[in-house]
Assembly symmetry: C2
Homo-oligomer: 304 residues x 2
């Protein structure tokens, strides 16, 4: 089948009240690919880094069976760098710096071997680039896309054109509201559905996620973690787990979409337990299954 992931690759420095990391692996394409790699292989990564990108990170990606043929290395450039600090309430963070570096002129080249990819995940990058990637592919079975406030505010037209081409839009609460000017999340999701995607997933962080289609609504809880160390990448890990499961099963039925949402939530829950991608570094499939079942326990009730 083949899953293609495009997005950013970054070197992150992150501080939270519970610790910090310096020069750690980050970026939307990384979190998506690593999460998806637990379900399908190889994951085809389209992204760009500079000559400073540590070899150990490449080796890690390869160890997860992530195909780096589409990872451009601009020898004379520097990798995208981001620094952030989270508040005691982890829902709030400040960006300390954002150095786009080679990411600023990213031209996503799709290796010819990737063009038949059936599953495509467009991580959060300029919507024009997301659309370019789609233009360079055959006819994927499913396109999942993410975006962020910045593009909603600064490139609304380009974003609308790109969203039209997505099957699934994955956004967080504030993005859904900003995109539609509608505070009611269900109404917001249904408005988005009218503009193209047939599925909208709204990520609500500690409140879980909601999947909305024309016919169904599915509400998944968040895993009740007491020890969250670093929320960075949770949304991308969600998207990666979601599309990874779908690529593995190649089943787009309503029931399987629900399972995919829970697998997405599962990977996101592992992600935030540690810094950077450490929470998803060496999970076993059994651990993932166990947590999936815990999600069932968490939300199941019966009739009487």
């Amino acid at each position: 089948m083949g899953l293609l992931v495009v997005g950013s690759v970054a070197i992150d420095s992150i501080e939270t009240p519970f610790g910090s990391v310096k020069d750690a692996l980050g970026g939307s394409a990384i979190y998506i690919s690593v999460a998806a790699s637990y379900f399908t292989a190889p994951v085809r990564l389209v992204a760009v880094v500079g000559g400073d990108f540590p070899r150990e990170h490449i080796r890690f990606l390869e160890s997860r069976d992530i195909d780096v043929d589409g990872l451009q290395i601009v020898r004379e450039g520097k990798t995208f760098r981001w620094g952030g600090r989270y508040h005691y309430d982890l829902n709030m963070r400040d960006s300390l710096y954002t150095e786009l570096n080679v990411f600023e002129k990213f031209n996503p080249v799709v290796p010819s071997a990737y063009k038949n990819s059936a599953y495509v995940c467009l991580g959060n990058i300029d919507p024009t680039l997301q659309r370019q990637v789609l233009g360079r592919l055959g006819k994927p079975r499913l396109v999942v896309g993410d975006t962020m406030n910045y593009w909603i505010e600064h490139k609304p037209k380009e974003l609308a054109e790109t969203i039209k081409l997505m099957d699934v839009l994955v956004v967080n609460e504030s993005e859904a509201r900003l995109l539609t000017q509608e505070p009611n999340l269900i109404k917001a999701a249904k408005q988005i559905i009218k503009t193209g995607p047939r599925i909208v997933i709204i990520k609500k962080g500690e409140h879980g996620a909601v999947l909305v289609t024309e016919q169904t609504i599915f509400s998944a809880p968040a895993y009740p973690l007491e020890n969250i160390n670093d929320p960075t990448g949770a949304g991308d890990a969600f998207a990666g787990g979601f599309i990874g499961w779908l690529a593995r099963t190649d089943d787009l039925s309503a029931e399987n979409l629900k399972r995919a949402v829970v697998y997405g939530s599962t990977l996101a829950s592992f992600c935030v337990e540690k810094f950077s991608v450490d929470g998803m570094k060496d999970l076993t499939y059994l651990q993932i299954q166990d947590r999936y079942r815990s999600f069932m326990q968490l939300s199941r009730f019966d009739e009487r």
Copy 2:
């Protein structure tokens, strides 16, 4: 068994972007009692109103089999009045006025016929009064209590003494965080459990509710309503549906507590569809069962 409800009875004037009501029935004890009345009868109401309290409201309470023997009428006084205006984002509201009137000197007298009540719901009033009510009762099987930011900030010691006596504390997200100074909701709930209640329910509005005990966590979704007209009383309707179901079934098992949370969410979802208590005025038990099943649909997923 007998369910006793104590709290405020008010005359509310409410504006939302979708309409308004003037001089409508409101107050925590009202929303709790009306919601509970769909499960158990009679509901014993302990509260106070003034001589201006409309007879039609009394008739409505009686029509719902709510016992008003414990409803003090201070002939020369005026009923508690509240006016509020909600923003387009219904999560935000401004209080326009709060006239305590007879509520300011409320001394909850418990009729002797009520003293054997097995189920007690302490609506949001001064924690000293909540404790007084408990002191005037026998040994209830279950005490459910609510509170609000005001008491957490202004009467923390009295509140702590009262919370100690509750089996179930029902609070919203911000109250849980304020009470514990802990942003992580699961940790906050577990901290509260150490101070007395063996069950903590955190209401999260449009994100549902979480029930936390020493052993279990249960996450219930919110019903995905597209048309919310008036959020007033949703939390009280939740508490009423919750304790009403428990009083009806007299079963405090973990599985039945989960059902009670969903019945609470069910009543809250009906409550917010209309203004004041209109959404809970003439439901049928079949409607309630249907919505309970919709909650199951909404959150159910399987394994593969």
